[in-house]
Symmetry: C2
Amino acid sequence: MGKKTTIYDIAKRLNTTASTVSRALNNSPKISKKTKDLVLETANKMNYQQNKLALALKSGKSNNVGVIVPRIDSNFFASIIKGIEENLYAHGYRVIICQTQNNQNIEVEIINTLLKAQVDGILMSISSINLDTKNSFNRILQKQIPLIFFDRKANIKDVSSVTINDFEAGYMATKHLINQGCKKIAHLSGNILLDIFNNRFLGYKKALEEEGIEFNKAYVLKIRSTVKDGQNAAKQLLKLRNPPNGIFSSSDYAALGAIQEIKANGIKIPGDIKVVGFANEPFTKFMELSISTIDQSPVEMGKIAANVFLQQSNNSENTKIEKNVVLAPKLIIRKSSLKHPNE
Amino acid sequence: MGKKTTIYDIAKRLNTTASTVSRALNNSPKISKKTKDLVLETANKMNYQQNKLALALKSGKSNNVGVIVPRIDSNFFASIIKGIEENLYAHGYRVIICQTQNNQNIEVEIINTLLKAQVDGILMSISSINLDTKNSFNRILQKQIPLIFFDRKANIKDVSSVTINDFEAGYMATKHLINQGCKKIAHLSGNILLDIFNNRFLGYKKALEEEGIEFNKAYVLKIRSTVKDGQNAAKQLLKLRNPPNGIFSSSDYAALGAIQEIKANGIKIPGDIKVVGFANEPFTKFMELSISTIDQSPVEMGKIAANVFLQQSNNSENTKIEKNVVLAPKLIIRKSSLKHPNE
DNA sequence: ATTTATCTTGCAAACATTTTTAAAACCTAT
DNA sequence: ATAGGTTTTAAAAATGTTTGCAAGATAAAT
């Protein structure tokens, strides 16, 4: 009873061959209605389930898609995955999740593993960009497997991507702070080697420039996306002879840490210092002092990334057509950055 | 150049056969060092990558494990998946993610799909329990595929599970409220057909009983895990002739909604009403009025569920040995439930 | 030099499908 | 009744591996 029933089993019972059964199950026009019904009935009776593995081997399509993210337990990435999964499931694809933990060795290894598993496509948010990873990307492309970047992209020819306009986001956030009366604006930045962080930084700079505010190198600190790093950054900023009165953080978590630290020093938010974060993590909305932030529409981003994949894998011609979708960021204004929070 | 190289290609180039190449690559002792080196070298040169699909078909092991959750974009489930993924990846398994969206039809369909995909195991948190799903579970068991429940389990013979002690959690939370001076304690409950919610409810009742507090049916409301439902529930509770002064919510989101609603009515938390939530979602910690809650150690839960799977799939004997791991919940006391929040 | 033992390799089957090609079976019209 | 055509089924090849069995080659021992 533990054995799986195959089309051979069905064939044997009906005194026919596997090919007939296969065609009958696939509703081929070459099979008479009578045998079709018979096959279908016995298949049901025998509890037959198609073995997708065999089909995959035969057809060369596994119907599996690999999704690679730095980590899954952040609302941002979880939401993207939600979008991808929902869209691809409806098209018969299964989604294989892998986390790099921001480790480039793991990243390269994961790509290899997915290739061996014969995935039909790879959707990923890169953790690092260097010679090894670039090599991996090329191996994917050589095998003609669709590769799509989301959020954190590398600039590689023929590779599509779905991102938000991070430059615009940085610009909007900074401009908003200026509009609320800030003249001395700090920026908590991520690793500038990644496009997303670099672009946010450039947007920040542009906004300052436009308003004739001089760029102050001491106001820009590199942080990881943690509460702790935000606290440390705030400490450092408050120690300055001329501390900022506005902070644009590339991370909601760091923004939170900064806010906690600043408050602990008896300094008022948004009164004395105004803060804008990034990513619209759920907690930013729920806090008493709700945090202004940038929304990146992660679920939509995931859905679009999935769509781009579907397009590319349908049109084998299109595999080489690069398509770069850039979503508009949304500035979400909450209390942490308002000049007059009670109005 | 787009063609994949197979062991046949390597064999042809070396004027030998596929079997030799296979053995060489697998470091079989039956192959001389000389040819091994030769094969390995040319395999590298030709950019060979093993086709896991073929191997899977041959061996009957796909090295894929299906993970089914109601949704992925909640910190709780994302964290569990993180634990599962990290543990299983290290053992050569890939994790296929599926969401049921709490829909039982989808749930049944997903199980079917995973079975066809020949997964080596299914780890799931059930969405619903009824005849159809039970049928699906039986089909999994019939195929001798390890099935492990986490958090939301069904009581099925021979099926292992990893849960927390929800009874204890409900008891702890309620007892804590009582200790903080509450005598009139409401409970926001989920669907009581699911064990987790029923057990939390029973724990709640037990604590009341132990303290000689009479059970009041009007204090128990059924909610979904949303802010909105929490708000509505609070509205309803406040309308009572004798409103509660403590709330134990089965959901952090609902607890948040209740808190918002209560505050909006000018009622003090924790002064007038004390609140405890459930799940330790990140925001509960970050809020100005931090929310007391129950931590379920989701990452650990995922890791343990993965371990149970690994044990069962190694010992084919053990497949039928039910193992029910019950983790201890942790009551995390924060401001929302404290008699004297400033001490 | 021949047998025996040991080491190394090749052949073919197996995994569960689909698909191409070929062959029956059936029917219709002459 | 038979040629021609159409419909239906059967046989075989193909997908990329692993593996049991047999055989070939080499080395050792008589």
